[in-house]
Subunit: 410 residues, 2 copies
Amino acid sequence: MPELFQVVTTAEANARLAGHMSTPGRVEMVPIDAALDRVLAEDLYSPCNLPAFPRSTMDGFAVRAADTHGASEGLPAYLTLCGETPMGRPPDLTVGPGQAIRIHTGGMLPAGSDAVVMVEHTQALDATMLEVVRPVAAGENVIPVGEDVRAGDLLFARGHRLRPQDLGGLAGVGVIAVPVMARPRVAILASGDEVVPADATPGPAQVRDINSHTIAALVRRHGGEPSMCGIARDDAAELERMARAALERADALIISAGSSVSTRDMTATVIASLGAPGILVHGVAIHPGKPTILAVADGRPVFGLPGNPVSTMIAFELFVVPALRRLLGVVSGDVFVVQARLSRNIASRPGREDYVPIRLEQREDGLWADPVFGKSNLIYTMAHADGLVQVPLDLAGLYAGELVTVWRFV
Amino acid sequence: MPELFQVVTTAEANARLAGHMSTPGRVEMVPIDAALDRVLAEDLYSPCNLPAFPRSTMDGFAVRAADTHGASEGLPAYLTLCGETPMGRPPDLTVGPGQAIRIHTGGMLPAGSDAVVMVEHTQALDATMLEVVRPVAAGENVIPVGEDVRAGDLLFARGHRLRPQDLGGLAGVGVIAVPVMARPRVAILASGDEVVPADATPGPAQVRDINSHTIAALVRRHGGEPSMCGIARDDAAELERMARAALERADALIISAGSSVSTRDMTATVIASLGAPGILVHGVAIHPGKPTILAVADGRPVFGLPGNPVSTMIAFELFVVPALRRLLGVVSGDVFVVQARLSRNIASRPGREDYVPIRLEQREDGLWADPVFGKSNLIYTMAHADGLVQVPLDLAGLYAGELVTVWRFV
């Protein structure tokens, strides 16, 4: 096939490739502690409520809220202290009218109680008499059953890349293994009569293989499993034989093509022969990286990347990364950002740095940071966030519409 | 030890920790293909020139530049075509005055020649007569010996985190294994009478361990080797025994502390007993995460992270990440950015996207993007860059001082 440059844009090139790729869809189960950055193959639903029982968020006293209504410094409520809730065991006591039971942060509310009075708002007059100087509303200082996540809730959708907080969230509901997409196997083939392996001593006019190593690391970084398939001579038959062998055991093939016109033509001819529909793009309106070849061989993407190391990396980012994401079915974004516009006011207190979980939203007018206001006891506050925004030490808050720096979760 | 909150700022907290940590400094050799994201333990110097011979960057003809001076469409230079340079073998021909030898991109310049005329600027009149219609300067379309990197040049400094292009660059000079810092071993200990392992079925009032899993993944993400050391009961003797055992085999210890005041006090007491100098920080001016404990036990950092999952993550990012970077001796930045101010004009051509390697520079007035102008044949163009800036399809360039979006290399 002669070099027939029909240069297309990056977007058009990716659209053509996407239109012909089939995704392999191999799924494997992995333990959560080995699932960092893996991509979920199925929607995951919660098998249980989290928490499964009403928990105190404070050290204090479990009470009936109504018993504290109207309480103040001047006119305290007086309750009878009936004991203490243990940690990790259900309280065997019941809070009756006018009664209080000591409770710790994370403890289970005893039957009969519906709120927790912070210890700071009480005074124990003796072993059984408690003075309460501030009223609490029903539910105050309590995480109700299922506030973090409810049984049957969608935890994470298919295509979600699992982050540390997501793994914590899965542990929290007892999901200790997850179905994830198998890593796409990406075969890497270098070519060129002048190229020798990195561990060889090049003769005069020979160079060591650089691109196989760069590409392998890029494949790994973007969730694939690279396999280096050697260096083909500038010989169509050898290149075709090696390319076919490489593609046989792979979900995608990357050929680091030679840079001269003749070897590029040869690479194109070989790629065209590997399977249907063959070459979709030969030449993209980018610099450097113009002579990039994109093809599909029986559902599997094949890339002819320019031989120059800089062009190789740019073409990889522009074309191979989206293809890997498609093979993995990745839905969540991968770009790291810091500047976004705040969607709502965030109140803070001077003298401390506040960190507020943020969900990032790409709108027509740019990137917006949407605060996720949730108790810090809830792991899914983090699982639902994309990053954090900091309110600096000396500010009383941040204003809606402000450009803020978002610390994006990797 | 009673809870004695002497709340300090994040910066002060990290400074105290840094002042008492010793770095373990264990070094290991790893093959470059397993070295992605590892941190160099030594300065690395190039054992050779790259390229080792003058290479053509174009398909064309190796000539003596002087023979083309004054050549134009109207008054071409006529040269005698004497043969072709092979790829991968040294040319056995010499270019004499008035002679030209066909050469391919990446080929070695024959003796006597000092420039390459692009094929587009020539016409072969017959098998031996070449018409040249554009002059070339000496060195034009040639990569001289050592232009990418010279023998003895510093390739990467100790503390550099190895990226895909760096591994390619190492392959290019035949460095196939590198000395890197061993991954810091980080022991993780959960605590709390109410906490059960994620694979257990919690009884009433019990919760599954969330934080160990989140923390382990965070440790892994930031270059450490996590080891989960179980769940300690709310019992000082048990916590101390498990903490000592965990720390014995680790470079750092993270205790996911309980949230109630009494268990926090117990955690502080245990941490204080693990080694000198003990607790350095107990309480930081952040929200959430205030009750964070930072300590050093005989050189090894010990963290008491608040039990709340959100606080845990924030305290991890603020205090554990810098400590891990210190243990690894990481020098290069890890924050992903997109907005920076361009330091110089970048010329481009409408109708194509240009990608220019960028070095990021943090100045007093913000982040600057400094274009790295280098031939795309040179791997160290990428190895010296922090990211890429895109000149969009429809622009003729970008201007110095403009705020540009930098695609940061991970």
